[in-house]
Amino acid sequence: MIAILKDFFFFAAQSILHRKMRSWLTVIGVFIGITAVVALISIGLGLNRTIDEQVSQVFGVDTFMLVSGDSFRQRRHNGTAEEYALDLELLRSIEGVKVAAAIRQRTGFVVGPAGPEGKAKQGFLTVMGLSPELMTEFSSFTGPLDVEPGGRLFEPGEIDAAVLGSEIAERLGAAVGDEITIAGDGDTELRMRVVGIMAPPDEAKGSEQGFSMGASGPDADTIYVPYAAMDRLWGDADDVLLTLARVRKGYDVDQVADRVEEELNARGAKLTAVTYSDISDAIGTMTSTVSASLAGIAGIALLVGAVGVMNTMFTSVLERTREIGVMKAVGAKNVHILLIFLIESGMMGLVGGIVGTGLGLGLSAIASAFIGRFFGVHMAVVASPALIVITLAGSFLLGAFAGLWPARRAAKLTPVEALRYE
């Protein structure tokens, strides 16, 4: 049976080459659809991999973050983060955690430095407490924090130092070296020295800031203080926006994240630990849904190609009716005739598949270069062997499937009918 298939492939090739024009037109019908599908899938995969790479660069594969409750899933809908309570020291003590940093945020009553007339400006302002580790360990996460010349960020161990957003500095009339006062719970007050003023956000560099700190990026409208200062002012943290933790070498980030989630939640917290793989999974699901639905639409073109193959095969069966009669007269079984025509239509599908895969990958390379230049990233071109093999096998099957009906009709012809056909 295998040997006979080889002969039938030879028959099919001869018959296809014999009708070059028609075969090419049919193949064109097939490869247009396949080109579209391959290009879209390949671009989708490339996009996925690029996003994956970007996420791992910014986020780090050994890092996870804590967000409140289900907000990781909800964030995708409303874009806001909920505040939550956190025992940062407990988190740091959990096995496998190397460093942890958190951001908490409050609205506090702030008094600026005394002005020229001895009158200080004051108001309720957003105060954000940052762990110093955020700057030292998670800079890829926060993006560049630029301070205006003459100033600096606060250093580990410092408590009474503040960095002002550029607008706040203007509103309070404060400069580097001035003192401001922040009022906390009860009678607590803290006099803080202004050590730096944030450079105004640079719109052009917006896309380079990586993941934003909590809900928004470095904000011109916020006062930044050390995390420890927040503890002094407002006590234990119940207003945490975001926590980042990095695991020790040799620990699995997902396992540590699970343990942290378990231990913190056992003490009444409602937190979700989100790792690199959670994020890229979530983004991946989204991009693959989009690319799958696009490829589905391109599949319609494939269907039209298949109808073209069917049409060509019906014509071919009609033209070769006598030939079918002769083959039957010299001993061909019905299944032989069926196979001869199925292989012929399958081969047209396969040739369409080969051309379409080549063109599709080419198209995807061009599109990737274009998208990459547009967004300023290097976009991966994915030509996975699995994609190619599946496409080629699929296009052969598509052709064969389209030829099934005509081939069955050919196989069922009686020899006398077929021989009589003019």
Partner: protein, 232 residues
């Protein structure tokens, strides 16, 4: 026992709304090794008879026996095997596959019998040699003359070494010289190889090589005479 034995064979088929009675109780016996010519005007049922003798079609009534076996009792699979192994067809219009070389055309019946490539090629070359076309084996049908095409067709008919050669107007599309060559070939197949040769024809020259001439009219045998048995 006759090789082919037709007893009261009738064949009716529908052509649109009309029922055509092509054979109306036909009796015919053909012995192994004979050359039999079947003659008759158009519409006398020659082609239908040919199809039944070649196991391409079954009779509506009566019995058609090959080696004492009724065709009607055979399964489709067995009919296919019969056509493939015991019968060789030669057609008026040659019916070669246009996309294949002479060699491949001769190999075709062997392909369907699952004969190995090397054996097939050897035998096809031998048969083309036998019909005098050894030089033309890699030509396609449209590069061959009518006579050459019919000789390829005869080589194809011989591919699986059948006992019966059925030739339907084998000289109908040929000039008299090519026709004579073909008839000579068919005659040799009977005389030298012991094949049973049945020729359906209008051509008196074709009839002349036959041992017996059967005359048909309106789907029945109306007469039989001895053939000329002379060299064409």
């Amino acid at each position: 026992m006759p090789l082919l034995d037709l007893k009261g064979v009738t064949k009716e088929y529908r052509l649109g709304k009309v029922i055509v009675r092509a054979l109306r109780g036909l009796d015919l016996r053909i012995d192994p090794g004979e050359i039999v010519a079947i003659m008759g005007p158009s519409g006398s049922g020659k082609s239908t008879l040919m199809h039944i003798l070649g196991a391409l079609d079954l009779p509506t009534g009566g019995a058609a026996l090959i080696d004492g076996q009724d065709l009607k009792s055979l399964k489709e699979r067995e009919l296919v095997r019969l056509r493939g192994r015991r019968i060789g067809f030669v057609f008026q219009t040659f019916n070669l596959i246009q996309t294949m070389t002479a060699q491949r055309n001769v190999e075709l019946p062997m392909i369907f019998q699952g004969i190995k490539r090397a054996e097939r090629a050897r035998r096809a070359a031998e048969l083309l040699e036998k019909v005098g076309l050894a030089e033309r084996r890699s030509h396609k049908p449209n590069e061959l003359s009518g006579g050459e095409r019919q000789r390829v067709a005869i080589a194809r008919a011989l591919a699986n070494d059948p006992e019966i050669i059925l030739a339907d107007e084998p000289t109908g599309n040929l000039d008299s010289e090519s026709g004579a060559q073909i008839l000579g070939l068919l005659q040799r197949l009977s005389r030298e190889d012991g094949k049973t040769v049945i020729i359906v024809t209008h051509d008196p020259d074709a009839a002349a090589i036959a041992d017996r001439i059967i005359r048909l009219k309106d789907g029945a045998v109306i007469g039989e005479s001895a053939g000329g048995d002379r060299d064409p």
